[in-house]
Symmetry: C2
Subunit: 432 residues, 2 copies
């Protein structure tokens, strides 16, 4: 037997899992501070749901893992958390709206493995279903701002509105399918450059004058306010612009919210506000989170005449973790290798007393490991070093007579004789 | 399209997910207090790994969901967290032992759906790999004791040792395969009763005298100490008995650790200590957690000559949650329906001010939702009621002039005019 993982999937060893749990904890806490409640759906869905006409679309479906159960029912591994949310709402019609839920979980895509794309990865979504007001859109931006500030990131929230894009395209004569085709190409401005996009639009039989005007409009210069004014001159009645101004009134850090008319976001389901977040001084080029308003998807998916306006935000767990890892690795504390704060080494004859001291520390809320194998002091110190445990507590017979233990700071090598109570006080005040 | 879930799987709505997260949080904190570090492995494994000779066995394999990736590699959904741990250790040979890891995650079994058996469920394991000392076994029992005490359960930890069972069976002439066959049948004592087990053992061609003696020995009466003494008379040299006595010396609540010689635990891989935990006053009949020592499995699985002694404990998340749900439902506070502590209702003209007050509360660590849809007071109160949000904060223009807001206790209906600062103090001191 060869010991192998499925292609494109990987283990998360403790040193990475600790960081991920810490980040997920911060995001959960922030979602909950804004009144979002946790929902969990199975990792497996009926194939019929995943393949539904207004679900993820044919490209995603090609990358969906398929399986059957013993009853020969067709099933698949979920490729996102949005389709399960739409299904959940459809199956729970009496749910009181606004329904604000968050979900953090793994999704699966059997696609090409390259450039850091994996076949199992986390999504981390908060969505509000049942509200049209920009107050809900603003909550998404404020949550992002809260999380990125707490992480110490110099972040930027780029916003746009699909209605503005549609109005601009209508102004240059593009509506319906032609407008959507134009959006798909304009979305590639970063990748293909102006000439590349122009070429693609020409191939799509879009008039060259319209192309030039569209490219000029979405690349208007100046700061957010100047851009809004410039665009308002062309489409003064735009509902998208009105929404954008309202959104600005509800965000906590408007100076970090950058109106970016060239931002499109590829998915067909966005209907209004769209946004992406970036970290200015990061080496990572991709968005650290993104989202937008998707007012029509749930209703169409459910084939319902009812309206389900929705807006949501999704954190990019992977880029955030990579950024955190780089920063921590360069910092003095480094990356945590374990959760343990102190490692107790009892002399052989007094293992029971050593164990009781370990229990005392644990009860006081200090993560404590102890020598379970009866190793010698030097092997034990090597062990504590290998796991970067910051403190070691040596429980010897001489010390015990004085009701003291020896606390060793593994970084400095300094040792001190203390009572267990003093050890607790000392370790509790440490930054965890 | 029919909106359906895969058979045997279910959504976890907020009111259940909140409770599950709370329980998982307590268990994680306890595992970490004992120096166990988190590990995460993919939900998908190579089929070869899951089907390996010393993995879960053919019965489990029959219930394993099978899938393939685009490269036609055979994969399966994991049926437990133990086989992935063995694979992880094999793939990371330089890992420093003792390796103490915990993992909490879903596993999948495509078996018959009945009697509360589901096809997606949580396992919640902590294992120590690389230690023979009973100190490691005792940590499992102490962790269980800590968690059950914190939950307020009147718990009991039943322990036994496979070496004791083997020695007892050897004493009545049963060794090797015959001994294991006998164990399998003795494990059914609760289900089949004494006559049923006797019949099954007769069918297995085990001598009726040996059967009678075995049944008598494992059902010896008295308290733990008396049972140990009675059994020591028959097998005074038993290493299992020595281990059991050592185990007792390392547990915090020996009075709750009940030596139960008739406890077998079905799995073939157990080699020493075995245990199961029960809640005495519960209507739920199944074990709330279980585990034991499995010294040989990893080495055999890896086909390695190296020794990988291991001991672990697994919490039964489902029975614990069911028990908690019943208790909470009967209690005054009831089951939490949402994480939100207060719901802000601003009058229409002062939405911005209302939003700022909500932000102030969130920054102070209070989970705050607000009216996003501009509903009237009475609709808003209905909404807060539907989600059992305990407090509502009414932000009106008159109150705002006095720098006050109206806090309404939704249970009592009492209202009070307070400054936002006072609201924060009030809500912070609430039991969360």
């Amino acid at each position: 037997m060869e010991l192998q993982l499925p292609r494109g999937m990987s283990d998360t060893p403790p040193e990475e899992k600790i960081l991920r749990d810490e980040l997920i904890g911060l995001i959960r806490k922030t979602f909950e501070a804004y009144g979002f409640n946790p929902l969990e759906t199975p990792i497996v869905e009926r194939w019929e749901i995943l393949a539904a006409k207004y679900a993820g679309g044919s490209e995603l479906l090609k990358e969906t893992f398929k399986l059957t159960d013993q009853g020969q029912r067709d099933l698949g591994l979920r490729y996102d958390l949005t389709v399960p949310l739409a299904r959940y709402i459809g199956m729970n019609p009496t749910i009181k709206r606004p329904f604000k839920r968050y979900q953090i979980g793994t999704v699966y895509r059997d696609g090409p493995v390259k450039l850091g794309r994996t076949r199992e990865f986390y999504q981390c979504d908060a969505d509000t279903v049942g509200v049209r007001s920009m107050l809900a859109d603003a909550e998404c931006l404020n949550i992002a701002a809260d999380v990125f500030s707490k992480l110490g990131f110099d972040y930027e929230l780029q916003v746009n509105n699909r209605k503005i894009l549609n109005d601009l395209l209508a102004k240059v004569g593009l509506t319906g399918d032609a407008a959507f085709e134009a959006l798909i190409s304009l979305d590639k401005l970063d990748k293909l450059g102006q000439d590349g996009v122009r070429k693609e639009l020409m191939e799509k039989k879009i008039a060259s004058e319209a192309i030039d005007q569209a490219l000029e409009l979405i690349q208007v210069g100046g700061n957010s306010e100047e851009r809004m004014k410039a665009i308002a001159m062309r489409i003064p009645e735009s509902e998208g612009l009105r929404e954008l101004r309202e959104l600005y009134a509800y965000v906590d850090a408007p100076e970090r919210v950058i109106f970016t008319p060239r931002m499109v976001r590829g998915q067909a389901y966005y209907t209004g506000t769209i946004f992406e977040s970036y970290v200015r001084d990061s080496k990572i080029n991709s968005a650290f989170g993104s989202g937008g308003r998707w007012d029509n998807m749930i209703g169409t998916f459910l084939g319902s005449k009812e309206q389900y306006p929705a807006v949501g935000f999704s954190f990019g767990l992977e880029p955030i973790l990579q950024e955190l890892k780089m920063r921590r690795a360069e910092s003095a504390e480094g990356l945590p290798k374990c959760v343990t704060q102190v490692y107790v080494i009892p002399f052989k004859a007094i293992v029971k007393e050593g164990r009781q001291i370990a229990q005392q520390l644990r009860r006081a809320g200090i993560n404590t490991d102890m020598d379970l194998a009866g190793k010698g002091i030097s092997d034990n110190l090597k062990y504590a070093n290998a796991y970067s445990i910051p403190y070691v507590l040596i429980v010897g017979p001489d010390e015990l007579v004085q009701s003291k233990v020896k606390l060793r700071d593994m970084r400095s090598g300094q040792e001190e004789m203390l009572s267990v109570e003093d050890v607790i006080v000392r370790l509790r005040t440490l930054p965890s």
